[in-house]
Symmetry: C2
Subunit: 344 residues, 2 copies
């Protein structure tokens, strides 16, 4: 089959790889119908050292089950399923607590011999715990929104949820990428009253307004902080959703959070340490968040997507074929696309 | 009157200073009956550059009201009162939310012309919001425990509370100082089932056991982490209470917290940044805590102290006169005393 291999910064290729097969009775084979490119895929796309053998990539996909191992109950060939970006057994204590990202028998796609999502097919380990059946066909107009359940929408939702956003909350969202916009949509769904979106790309912040942002701050750094403070009587907001992953974004988050408030971070951190000095201590600021256990949120979010109440799939603004996936990476890297669907 | 002045590292003196008087109608004058020395007083005691003029010090005291300003209702001369370590108006939005440490008209003792607690008397700004009446006389056997309400006990309580300790919680407490022991007592009061105390001073950890610690780990660093993990099936505990303030303690905290768990810090941070890298991110660890709004907890904790249900005053193991306060500092600094009462 064909699959995407990254050979270094800027070097995305589609190559022939062995067809996946069932290795273990807990496996399933999924023929990919839609995949997509994640903002986090852009980190290696920008910085990975050149590698002759390269590495699989991609962790967001939905598709049809082709085969299941003997221990996989509840799924059969022909089922349309979505996979969260971490696979997990669904039975261990962490999974039962809703922290499938810490599953005792789980792992990441495209590592350690596991297929990536940006290919024609995927062997899915721990298929019964990992996959979620979608009650639609592959011609459904909802496919794009259903695809967001694999990562970007639950990631935004995890950000809002761990920050404690609820009815009446005042929220600042940092970042107008697909995760930031998903965080806006999530904050709105959780009842936030005011949502200030910090982002400087008008087409993106316009979608943010459609998703529920009440204010947009295009400025960055100190100027952006001043603007948010001016909008909030000088105090900042109780909840701040950091959806970028850069240290500057965390610093901005601490500067716009109200005393006693919470910063949640879901942008994959491109830093080792964060400023938590005496000043932050005196202000009782909490830092929460982390990698989103997408699997825990799919059951909760799926009904709203199926009923069309929310349309997280609007974050996709471009579709490419698998053969053209390098074009999709380029478009996301140079910001001519917000988020790209890949159609094998 | 006499008051304690710190002139630099190791240089504590008792000097004559002007008698306090009512400056503003919101002030009260309090004659100090008991004060004490805080672990955080030891930071300047260890590192303050020499200063000819020196600075007032001390922020924990209880005493009799001598006079009140015209706007102070509910208090009269002769009332025995305790003061939390941050003064606050009690009426602003932050105070109403229970975050008196961020009061819009509040501040710290021993700064900006405000008296310190380690003296014969104190002018108390925002007296009505700050002070809490104690329904006992100055001969009460409860004085020591009541004095802990000014800082150390609510600080430990804030740590346990913000960490979310509740019935059945598994907790690790880092630090066997007076704050750590108060955190043990607080975790116990909140219903924790298992409390692992990390500390290497047997007399202190013995008091920790009396306060509710179920396990003691005397080892530090990697060895201590191994011990805690061994006690918890390899996973660490959901709640970790960091009561030291050093970066090493935060690192230990992150190493012994269970995935998805919470570290709360109340040790005044002697660091600017904390490690919150990709590994911590993947484990969904939350960092909370901060300076304790002691005023918010006094009403809740006072009844238990008055009824003798809890005896946080057991953290005091030495009493000195105000004239001998330098001896008290020395004893705490060289760890021959856990926490020292000062009797003017």
């Amino acid at each position: 089959m064909k699959a995407t291999i990254i050979h270094g910064a800027g070097d995305i290729r589609v190559e022939s790889v062995p067809d996946p097969t069932i290795h273990k009775p807990t496996d399933a084979l999924v023929r990919v119908v839609r995949a997509c490119i994640c903002g986090s895929d852009l980190w290696p796309y920008r910085s990975m050292p050149a590698s002759p053998e390269g590495a699989r990539i991609g962790h967001e996909f939905l598709g049809f089950i082709e085969d299941v191992g003997a221990d996989v109950a509840g799924f059969k060939a022909g089922d349309l399923v979505v996979a969260p970006f971490v696979w997990s057994d669904g039975t261990c204590d962490f999974c039962q607590e809703g922290l499938q990202t810490s599953c005792r028998h789980g792992g990441l796609w495209a590592r350690d011999g596991i297929d990536g999502g940006q290919g024609e097919a995927v062997r899915v380990p721990q298929a019964q715990g990992t996959l979620v059946k979608l009650p639609v066909g592959d011609d459904s107009a909802l496919l794009a929104s259903l695809l967001t359940l694999s990562d970007v929408f639950p990631t935004g939702y995890h950000c809002a949820q761990t920050a404690g956003v609820g009815p009446g909350s005042m929220v600042t969202v940092i970042g107008d990428g697909a995760v930031g916009l998903s965080a806006v949509l999530s904050a709105k769904r959780l009842g936030a009253e005011r949502i200030i979106l910090m982002g400087r790309h008008k087409d993106r912040t316009d979608l943010g307004r459609e998703f529920g942002a009440t204010d947009v701050v295009a400025e960055r750094g100190d100027e952006g902080v001043e603007k948010v403070r001016a909008l909030t009587g000088g105090d900042g907001t109780h909840k701040v959703l950091e959806c970028v992953g850069l240290k500057e974004a965390i610093e901005t988050a601490f500067a716009v959070v109200r005393d006693g408030g919470t910063v949640s971070r879901v942008g994959a951190p491109q830093y080792d340490e964060v400023p938590m000095d005496f000043g932050v201590f005196m202000r009782n600021v909490t830092l929460t968040g982390g990698v989103a256990p997408a699997r825990a949120y799919i059951d909760k979010l799926l009904p709203d997507v199926l009923e069309g109440k929310i349309q997280p799939g609007k974050v996709f603004d471009r579709t490419v074929s698998l053969d053209d996936i390098a074009v999709g990476y380029q478009a996301m890297a140079n910001r001519t696309a917000l988020k790209v669907v890949v159609q094998p």
